[in-house]
Amino acid sequence: MRMKYMIVAAAILVSACDSQLVTDPTAAIDSETALTTARGIELALNGAYRSLQFGSREHVAYPDLYADNLDFTGTFQTDREFSLRNIQPSNGGVLGIWANAYIGINRANGVLDGIPNASDLSSSRQALYRGEALFIRATHYLSLVRWFGGVPLVLTPSKGVGEESLVSRNTQAEVYARIIQDLEEAATLLPAGRDPGKATRGAANALLARAYLDIGNHALARDKATSVISDPTYSLVANFRSLYTTKHSSESIYEVHFTVNNSNSLAFWFFPQEEGGRWGFSPTAEIYGLYGPTDVRRGASINITAGKRYIFKYPRIGTEDDNLILIRLAEMYLARAEANAYLNAPDATVLADINMVRNRAGATPVSVSGQAALLDAVFNERRLELAFEGHRFFDLRRYGKAQEKLQMEPNRLIIPIPQAELDVNENLTQNPGY
């Protein structure tokens, strides 16, 4: 009898076995198998597109806040440092720009790396997906190189955090070269025409025009801009305001798509408290005063409630699903005008592109001559047309006007490498002056 109990007790003791120690996640799959099928690549590509949504607030606000289009009216120390043009390496916004871009780059790299291994992926899909992933990666690198200067070029997906992850910085020229190489390849792989929210040949060419302008290759900038302008897919919308109230308009070349279930907080950050927002930033009196009396862009870009000027290009405060226009046709006209001015094209050629943009906005046409005056005209037009779309500081810097206009030290023309990144990677160097 006693033995029987002992046996029962012993049985209970050993009954709990090892297999009960295996549990599986319900919202994730193992990374080894994630990218081995066509479906996996498709899903991961969507995940890579998703990365273009990251940091939309900073994308819109910081280039204008770090310059002269936005005043700081919020509470975040990180934003304030941008507005004071006195950014500390510990600034969380800086880390955000850096980290978000590399998250997107790793996602794109995963797709690029996985495409050849996905057995059931047709060759046409292989080409399309590769083009899309290259476009996404190049977009992130363009953001990085503009803010930080040369950054590490990471071109394969991360598998671990060994020595190979302690990357060093490439030069600015190397980064631009890679961006251009990726976009040129993408342009050959991507389809022409419009596919809302997805990368297209036009989008790759448009981004190329921007990149060539950055590095001073004006001939290629002009050619790329022309190829987009002459593409019948794109046309300037008649009503400037409709750019921001209608998604994927005919003018939009690449637009990051947001939905109610996958929203951003752009309008929330920009609208004043009276309108249910937070009013973290306010358009400066200077830019507000620059628009001519007939120019519809002022009212379409800046609104006023209770004496507070606020960004009005992202108006869907109720649903917070404003799309982020990454690049649009008006920029191509102005890019071509800028390139042509550098290339000493006839005044009329340059003015035609500028006035194309001005006429649409109901502004009086400009008429100046000479390279310097033409460049100034493009520069001014870019400020009015592309306010709060992620351009202002980069324009000032490209024109060599940032230091004087913004009263800033030359070292501040690029922002610091995040301190947190330097802390974990001894191979990275800080930008001078930080």
């Binding site: 003791l13 009960q20 990374s31 991961a44 969507n46 998703r50 590490p152």
Partner: protein
């Protein structure tokens, strides 16, 4: 028991009207540091037994009630920002039901809970029935809570003075930028001078009723208890209500077989408000809003204040969580033979938390989206099975052998959902069914299991010498296949010297015992369930199409965090046991620290779970109990005084590649965990000559945007002529030099008086509130009256900087300016009671009757300038602790109560 154990008996537990178990424990036991994170009703506490032994593996002790490990922590899925002020499943326990609490501090005592014992174990035993006639107890108290101090903030006139000075300094203007007119930079209303703190807080009542019956017969014993607690918030939007019921039953159907069950039910309701620095928090905004703004507009609406109108937020925003908790176990014990018993038990801890929040379409953070609501639920379930065999024999009269072998299995599930909706018709529609837009919906589930085998063997020689050996082997599903198991042995020796013959002839020491223990314990508390696996997660959707994205790097090497602990203890007493001491010295060394180690972001990841680094805690604990007056000798007057003091030295001794972690609250090799890191101030610049002579601080072509006289001089610590991030150092530590509690209990005839003093010496607090509040003349926040001592050309002998809009010199950067001494001594609890004489209570037909008055946080002495030195805006964070960031302070509470026994 040869281990380091502190215990608290029933009387102590029940005599104070505490709302939670942790409140009972606070300050009473050496080496047990308990801090309420804030004065939030039902809010969480931070408990550290012998310091922190982990960076991100979790530092909370394991709570075990009647043998069942508890679900601990915050299971809320609500998407509202409560800052560090989370709710805590431990709040569900009713202190009145507790018979005793034991705290297992060292490796040997805690070893039987091996895997999770690194942070100590809190063993709670509830009351049980007795084989007597029924004993009925009834208790009730009622009290009121209020702020115990007010930090002085500016009134309207002072506000105008400073802000106009600030605008002039920055913009060179001559007019008033801030006034009662319509073009004031900060909108105002004529004559407004609002004391927002007064408007947002009011004394709040709290009360409790509880009743219990216990009794039984020879074979059946029962304990039945029920209670109700209501605690309103001083910020009216907050509150906490709880109903508890418990049945503990023991039944011996056979002489050798006993069965038992414990069932406890709890219903808790938390009314919550945004907390800490959230810009929609009523309390935070009461501190931050300008006094020149009124509460209401002329037509009775909420005035659009600088930060969301705090009175408006208090009235318009709703957040409520309702928990139902079922906690119970079933057990059977069988005696096979004299000294040999087997016991099987099955335990359940099931928590359902239903949560909702609503923000009005008419006002508040979501007014732009037509209002917003959340509906969420969490279902947290822990099943435990345990089987063990105990043996206990004495051989040849003096060789005692005892032990236990057993196994246990724990099955954990955390499941839940959350739905969010926006666009509500009006503020009367508060549930998502009326929302025009469902903005998000999530539903998920995650499981983890723990399988353990354990054994303890103990040998006692002649009651003088006891040696114990423990071993436990734990397998956790959280680790990869090859590292699932950890083995945790420990041993201890107790030598009762006073029983040795050579000690019998002395009469100084009435008791003397020496203890030594050494052993290993483990930790995996805060580890994610699948932390070792390389994962792609869903949810990376784009344009309404599903997407996946890499979410976690694999680390198949991930393994248990381990702590080795040495404990040397002595228990001795003198004067016929009237003065007793317990002294313990310990050294805890934790290795294989579980850390979500930051990795280069260029990988596309933020961190990887890894075993890196080491940490040590060394400490000394002294507890003394003096029975100063003993009733037998003092005509019924008794006076017992107990004092506990502990000192813990925490030091991080290794990290991955010696890389520091964190910002203002930092982890660095050779420094205590979570030390405060920042610039060092060096007075105020009095002239441009002084600025020129100093390292470059903030320069600008526009002198109004550069460092100027009246700004703070920061030390150039590395002497490179530039003040930058390299000029930061350790400027404070969250760890006290020593802390403790002192309790005096006196009784004379029917009168009893207990006074409990808590103290903490030498810790620092980073007063983050001042980073905004003491930014003189900038951005519109109200200031503390410290601002009136600011630098002006006429008032140069000061440490407070000038007023300037925008703070170009960044006078508010994290620096010694905001590090304050967090030491305090506090009359935490004082109770004066009167028990009716037996003849009187007999005549009234009751067994006992006692009335009492109680005060909590009655008196506090501290140099800390904030609202309360006992503060933690960092919530459950191991690293961010000594942080005050608009945190609701501890409250002063006065209650009257009655206890009646029938």
């Amino acid at each position: 028991m040869a281990g380091a154990v502190s215990s608290l008996r029933a009387e102590t537990v029940r005599e104070i009207s505490a709302t939670s178990v942790n409140q009972v424990l606070q300050g009473r036991l050496a080496g047990v540091q308990i801090n309420q994170n804030s004065g939030t009703p039902g809010g969480a506490t931070t408990v550290r037994i012998r310091g922190s032994s982990s960076i991100s593996g979790g530092n909370d002790p394991l709570y075990v009630i009647d043998g069942v490990p508890l679900n601990q922590g915050n299971f809320s899925r609500l998407g509202v920002a409560f800052g560090g002020q989370s709710i805590d499943a431990l709040s569900d326990l009713n202190a009145n039901e507790i018979e005793s609490i034991e705290i297992l501090k060292d490796a040997s005592a805690a070893a039987i809970f091996g895997s999770r014992a690194s942070n100590g174990v809190v063993l709670i035993t509830t009351r049980r029935g007795t084989s007597q006639r029924p004993e009925i107890s009834f208790g009730s108290y009622y009290g009121t809570q209020d702020l115990w101090r007010k930090v002085d903030l500016l009134n309207a006139a002072q506000y105008f003075e400073i802000y106009n000075e600030g605008c002039r300094a920055r913009y060179g203007i001559t007019y008033d930028c801030v006034d009662y007119t319509g073009d004031s930079w900060i909108p105002s209303a004529p004559g407004a001078d609002t004391d927002w703190v007064d408007e947002v807080t009011k004394p709040a009542p709290m009360g409790s009723v509880d009743a219990s019956v216990r009794g039984g017969s020879e074979r059946v014993r029962y304990y039945v208890a029920g209670s109700s607690l209501v605690q309103d918030g001083v910020v009216a939007a907050q509150g906490y209500r709880r109903l508890n019921g418990r049945i503990n039953l023991d039944y011996d159907p056979l002489d050798r077989l006993s069965l038992g069950t414990n069932v406890a039910l709890t219903r808790s309701v938390y009314d919550r408000a945004r907390s800490d620095n959230n810009i929609y928090s009523p309390w935070a905004n009461a501190l931050a809003n300008p006094p020149i703004q009124p509460i209401y507009t002329d037509d009775g609406g909420w005035f659009e204040t600088l930060y969301a109108n705090p009175v408006g937020m208090m009235n318009e925003a709703e957040a409520q969580e309702r928990g139902i908790r079922i906690l119970g176990n079933l057990f059977a014990a069988y005696t096979f033979a004299e000294g040999l018993t087997g016991r099987v038990s099955f335990g359940l801890d099931n928590l359902t938390l239903r949560s909702r929040s609503f923000d009005s379409p008419a006002f508040g953070p979501w007014s732009g989206q037509g209002g917003a609501a959340d509906a969420a639920s969490s279902f947290v379930n822990k099943l435990t099975y345990e089987a063990r065999v105990n043996f206990d024999r004495t051989l040849a009269d003096r060789h005692g052998v005892s032990g236990v072998v057993g196994t246990s299995f724990e099955d954990n599930t955390n499941e839940g959902f959350r739905v969010q909706g926006q666009q509500f018709p009006t503020e009367y529609f508060k549930y998502i069914t009326s929302a025009a837009s469902i903005t998000s919906g999530t539903s998920n589930r995650s499981d983890w299991n723990l399988l353990s085998h354990f054994g303890r063997f103990s040998y006692t020689f002649d009651d003088r010498l006891t040696a114990t050996f423990n071993i436990r082997r734990d397998g956790s599903s959280r680790f990869g296949e090859d590292n699932r198991y950890g083995t945790f042995p420990s041993a201890s020796v107790l030598w009762r010297l006073s029983d040795e013959s050579f000690m019998r002839n002395q009469d100084i020491l009435s008791n003397l015992a020496l203890r030594v223990s050494y052993g290993l314990t483990g930790n995996q508390q805060s580890l994610g369930n699948f932390a070792s696996r390389g994962l792609f997660s869903g949810g990376a959707n784009y344009f309404d199409q599903p997407g996946i994205s890499p979410s976690q790097l694999a680390n198949p090497e991930l393994r248990w965090e381990k702590t080795r602990q040495l404990n040397l203890g002595a228990d001795f007493s003198v004067l016929a046991n009237r003065l007793a001491f317990n002294v313990d010295y310990y050294e805890k060394r934790t290795e294989d620290l579980l850390v979500a180690r930051p990795v280069p972001r260029t990988t596309g990841y933020t961190s990887i779970w890894d075993n890196v680094g080491e940490m040590e805690n060394k400490g000394l604990e002294v507890a003394a109990t003096a029975r100063i007056l003993v009733p037998e000798y003092q005509r019924g007057l008794s006076w017992t005084s107990t004092l506990n003091v502990s000192r813990n030295r925490n030091k991080v001794t290794a990290l991955y590649d010696d890389q520091p972690i964190g910002g203002t609250f930092r982890v660095e090799v050779g420094k205590p965990l979570g030390f405060i890191y920042g610039y060092v101030t060096d007075g105020i610049f009095q002239s441009y000559a002084e600025i020129q002579a100093h390292a470059r601080q903030v320069t600008h072509a526009d002198p109004r945007r550069a460092t100027a006289p009246g700004d703070i001089r920061f030390k150039d610590l590395n002497g490179d002529g530039v003040i930058n991030a390299e000029d930061r150092e350790m400027i404070g530590s969250p760890w006290p030099d020593y802390e403790g509690g002192w309790t005096n209990t006196m009784a004379y005839r029917g009168v009893d008086l207990t006074a409990f003093v808590q103290f903490s010496q030498g810790s620092d607090i980073y007063n983050g509130f001042r980073v905004y509040a003491d930014q003189y003349g900038s951005w519109g926040d109200n200031h503390t009256t410290r601002a009136m001592k600011r630098w002006t050309p006429e008032n140069t002998n000061t440490i407070e900087p000038r007023a300037i809009w925008g703070d170009p010199n960044q006078n508010t950067r994290a620096s010694t300016r905001f590090v304050e001494d967090g030491s305090y001594i506090r009359l935490k609890n004082v109770i004066l009671g009167y028990t009716l004489p037996a003849d009187l209570s007999d005549r009234m037909g009751v067994r006992t009757a006692r009335v009492y008055v109680q005060g909590q946080n009655v008196f506090t002495r501290t140099k800390y300038s904030g609202w309360d030195p006992e503060v933690n805006a960092g919530g459950t964070s191991s690293i961010t602790r000594a942080w005050d960031f608009y945190t609701l302070p501890q409250l002063r509470v006065f209650t009257v109560g009655v206890n009646v026994g029938l």
